[in-house]
Symmetry: C2
Subunit: 243 residues, 2 copies
DNA sequence: CGGTTAATTGAGACCACTCAACGGCTGTGG
DNA sequence: CCACAGCCGTTGAGTGGTCTCAATTAACCG
């Protein structure tokens, strides 16, 4: 039995009882597919839906007045669209599928019931949320202070780390079907510059990036270049808790 | 009777009953002073304290390996250090007083009791928290996409807007005792460049900045330059809710 | 009044941008 | 099966924003 990615990710933040895990799986059993570059969520009726990403990559993005699109957050398997059912006045932030993705809609009232029953899930969700904020702050610092090459290196390290949480692999390889324009929107640099930086990283033997697959061939060097310290992801938080 | 800044700010996000407001004021009655450039919180005993900023400016900051300091969030009157009492493994983020500030420590259990009693406060806190995230995302986009002059203009607009929420004034004037090095850490640019940009903004008649006071003399022009749309601050959220 | 901190100015270097052109791959219709 | 179109990746050249380093002036404080 393979636990679904929601349970896997939440368990990283707080131990979850078997019963709670089963409830979570039941709640996220029905998959829906969304195509690359489509908007999320595809509204079901008029209600703003809560959903979980099960497979693929999505992003939160803002569109600037000049038409530039800036990605302000990445989502991967196990990430929630929203965990509090509060609506603010409409914002200028959207969510988009960056690859073909599959998601599971969550019925708000059933989710709230689940939270009432399982304190461990509440705690896990809260910690996952704190980790999200930590990522946002790290992005701010990176955007503000690091040159493009370091930002790229940092992003690649972060993506591999986040994916490994759900699908561990011995080698540092992930599927990465982003086009260079997407990378540019992620890093806040021009597509042309993305190209030059990727070439530099390849030439220096830090990564292999060929037809939609990324392999980090020299993790030590890449993470050193990026000054990547995975602590901010709070990976395996309930284990490192003792620290 | 002047309500304290906590009540004022929270009321912006959700209507708060008189009784809840009184409870909040009682909880934040005891002020503590902290000097500029000191670390927050000054631990009381060993426990991580929850506190509210009552006066002045503080910031969340990260220190990069090369020693650069990057500010990743601003705090002003009415902002909480933390509203969930969850501890993650220690992070590399600190909070620092950017001016002399006064804060109020909050006893965790009394705060939790208050939240149990007053759903309206829970809602206000949650919305304030959503607004915080919205600000973070906007910062990411600004850092990534806007040149220094626009970032500066945007920051000044944001600061005036946020302060006005607590102390409204007819003219766009706030006390701003930041040195240019602080501004550099806020915007992710060099202190020298801060200087040149401020001069440009002054020359163009957009701002007056003299001995610790900032006046935005041409708000329309400055906000246009910054592409500043205050919507992301969710100012007066429960009023604009109808939108 | 001396000493420290902050603001200002100048000069040269570098990073990243824009614009433009070209090459490669893929799918599709004739 | 080939030709074409369209998207994506690559490369070059010139420009501009921002940096660093260094020196000078101004403001503040005891």
């Amino acid at each position: 039995v393979v636990p679904n990615s929601v349970v896997t990710v939440l368990s990283n933040f707080n131990p979850i009882s078997l019963e709670a895990a089963q409830d979570l799986e039941a709640l996220t059993a029905k998959k829906t597919s969304v195509l690359r570059h489509d908007e999320l969520p595809p509204f079901e009726g008029n209600e703003r839906q809560v959903w979980v990403l099960l497979e693929g990559w999505a992003c939160r993005y803002m569109t600037l007045p000049n038409g530039d699109r800036q990605i302000v957050g990445l989502m991967t398997a196990g990430d929630f669209s929203d965990t509090r059912s509060i609506r603010l006045a409409s914002s200028n932030i959207g969510i988009m599928a960056m690859t073909d993705v599959s998601i599971a809609f969550i019925q708000r009232d059933r989710f709230n019931e689940l939270l009432d029953r399982h304190r461990d899930v509440v705690m896990a969700v809260a910690k996952a949320h704190l980790a999200d904020e930590s990522i946002m702050r790290t992005w701010i610092a990176n955007m503000a202070r690091k040159p493009a090459k370091q930002r790229m290196a940092h992003l690649l390290c972060e993506m591999v780390s986040r994916v490994s949480r759900v699908t561990p692999s011995l080698r540092m390889v992930i599927k990465l079907p982003f086009i260079q324009t997407d990378m540019a929107d992620l890093l806040g640099i021009s597509p042309v510059h993305v190209n030059r930086i990727l070439q530099a990283l390849r030439t220096e033997g830090l990564i292999h990036l060929r037809s939609k697959w990324l392999e980090i061939s020299n993790y030590d060097a890449l993470s050193a270049l990026a000054e990547f310290d995975p602590g901010y992801l709070y990976y395996d938080e309930h284990i490192s808790r003792a620290a």
